[in-house]
Symmetry: C2
Subunit: 411 residues, 2 copies
Amino acid sequence: MTSHPHSSAARARSVADHAAAVAQLLRPLRSADRTESLPLTQALGRGLAGDVAAPISLPPFANSQMDGYAVRSGDIPDAGAELRIVPPVPAGSSPQPLEPGTAAPIMTGAMIPAGADAVVPIERAVPDRFLEPGHAGTVKLPPAAAGTFVRSAGSDIAAGEHALVAGTCLGPAQLGLLAALGIPEVRVYKAVTVLLVTTGDEVVEPGSQLPPGKIYDSNGTLLEAAMKQAGLNVRRAGISTDSPEDLRALLRTQGQGADLILTTGGVSKGAYEVVRQAMADQPVEFLHVAMQPGGPQGVGTFDGVPFLGFPGNPVSCLVSFEMFLRPALSALLGAPAARLPLRARLAGPLTSPAHKHQVRRGTLRPGGTVQLEGGEGSHLMHALAGSNVLVHVPAGVTELAAGDEVEVWML
Amino acid sequence: MTSHPHSSAARARSVADHAAAVAQLLRPLRSADRTESLPLTQALGRGLAGDVAAPISLPPFANSQMDGYAVRSGDIPDAGAELRIVPPVPAGSSPQPLEPGTAAPIMTGAMIPAGADAVVPIERAVPDRFLEPGHAGTVKLPPAAAGTFVRSAGSDIAAGEHALVAGTCLGPAQLGLLAALGIPEVRVYKAVTVLLVTTGDEVVEPGSQLPPGKIYDSNGTLLEAAMKQAGLNVRRAGISTDSPEDLRALLRTQGQGADLILTTGGVSKGAYEVVRQAMADQPVEFLHVAMQPGGPQGVGTFDGVPFLGFPGNPVSCLVSFEMFLRPALSALLGAPAARLPLRARLAGPLTSPAHKHQVRRGTLRPGGTVQLEGGEGSHLMHALAGSNVLVHVPAGVTELAAGDEVEVWML
């Protein structure tokens, strides 16, 4: 390692530049042979691989917005009218045209008969209840302007219009729209498979005894859960020792077919950095991003498989995932969904290093204020577990006061 | 049906009262025999069944926040000192006590040796790189106050403190905390199984031909996806006809073992309301909630199984899920997570009926303004699919102007 810590810190890569590098690394995942067609509900949380045009209009036909009487608006003067009741129009039927001077009982969603152009709700009719089927009779109705309580064909979307654009993350509403359009399957990007390896002689599996000087591995659980929640397939390779040979063997055994190898730990400038050592003959760059926490990062390929090396602290891992991996996948594949940047007011002051983008953890209150949880430390898992947002303090900002606005991302 | 539409509308149940009724209906789901112990990552998205106390402190021992030298702060006067370098402390080791007048190379996360009380970062040392292991030497260090770059034992959480409270929804950070505490399994509420039935002679499955007057079923897909996303098990019973006998038979055949039966459609005051008819001899109440959309609702039990009847329009279904079912489960079982109420400024004006809680759909912009999508209509699936928030206009509010604040829930 020839770089000097001071000069290296001065040359730290910006968050935006590293985000671009991660997006570039993962760019090959956005290819036509990495798409598949799935039944709608299996596509939940996936990104749409191409634009979808509406094959039909919604609604497909003019229909009633209310239970009531379909009428010709011109039949009813200002004073109202008594009209003869014709057979009812249930939802799902294809009704006869409406004769002048008549009123057809019609249910919500049922097709407006040809000739009718308005619906009078049942509660404005006299009598205000429907006759038993088969009974003849008349009904007194107030006037209704043409179009009243009629949902016109195509008023939600017209056939041929774009229903959804490529890269849309498919949630319940988007899948519901495809169903409403009669589309049973949808072409989406395949789920990304990640091999996740925690490194460090100091970490042991939860549930085992904790020898002095050791800590339990939380990075594995934290990142597996975050990536599963984001719709990725996660393959856990357990904890590697601090031997570069062991780590290389593990990656070669378990990395088969993975789209991405992700390690935690072993990427900074200390004397025992297993990931750096294991990647010595691979095209992997280790660098410092001007971000706190999560500065030390690795990016490249291992035996040709895209590789990211996150730092060893759990908060740094989550911040790295949210700052680099999630946005890259979201932009390339439409999924997972990007975090929506929101504005909130700080409940208290904060300080931040001048040349770093600081990511704090906080609790966003309903009123729109955000309370920081824990300090700057990247080891504060309890504080993270009590937070619901990440709080961004851009590089260049060194102090903020209570009441100042910050950008927050809901977790 | 003896109730008069006008008087019934006047007696519409408030949103809060109906939410309480749904919570009461589902109360039996919160019982000790409906909990299970799961490995951490399988518990993702579940609600914690009991408080969890920290079995150990975090950090478990005082450790270094930096790569650098562990020192006795009293050894270094203001002018700095040259100290003899002793063997390094890698992370995971249990070091010897630090002799006075010496400095121990220490890696981030490694245990602070007994006697040491501060860490000087490597970049402030001269030389500013670690010696090769085994080489003897000295290092010049500036002074450091006691505690500098030392993470003290228990500074995140102390053994015995509450780590997580019952009812916490377990996301990546909460599971990561449990892992950090060495806890490999966690007791959570079992996932709720819902039998979902769409009703209506007018609805047909996506992918089939669309006869005149019919529409494609979107409620089934929309609600299945929403409930899956919320961590529920969903059993789809397809589309029931408008025959009450068919519906009852379907529920009896497929409802075995379900925790909840959920139907869509057939609950309003029209002439052909299959759900109302099928429930005629069951303790099910059909009522109108003072809410738009989603007013007509059914609540009760069918053969003893909790039952909810949502209205037939897709937007009404999603609104019903978000207003009643999600909050009830969230409050009872800790999962799915409750929606966080946020404040946003309207991009344009709106009107709302005086006596109803109106739920509009909108797009929340990063700047904190919300643009309404589509109109009030509950059939506007395309508009819903373009929205990212629900916008709340409480009962009693009839007009709001651009710039007025509203409560929004992110979808």
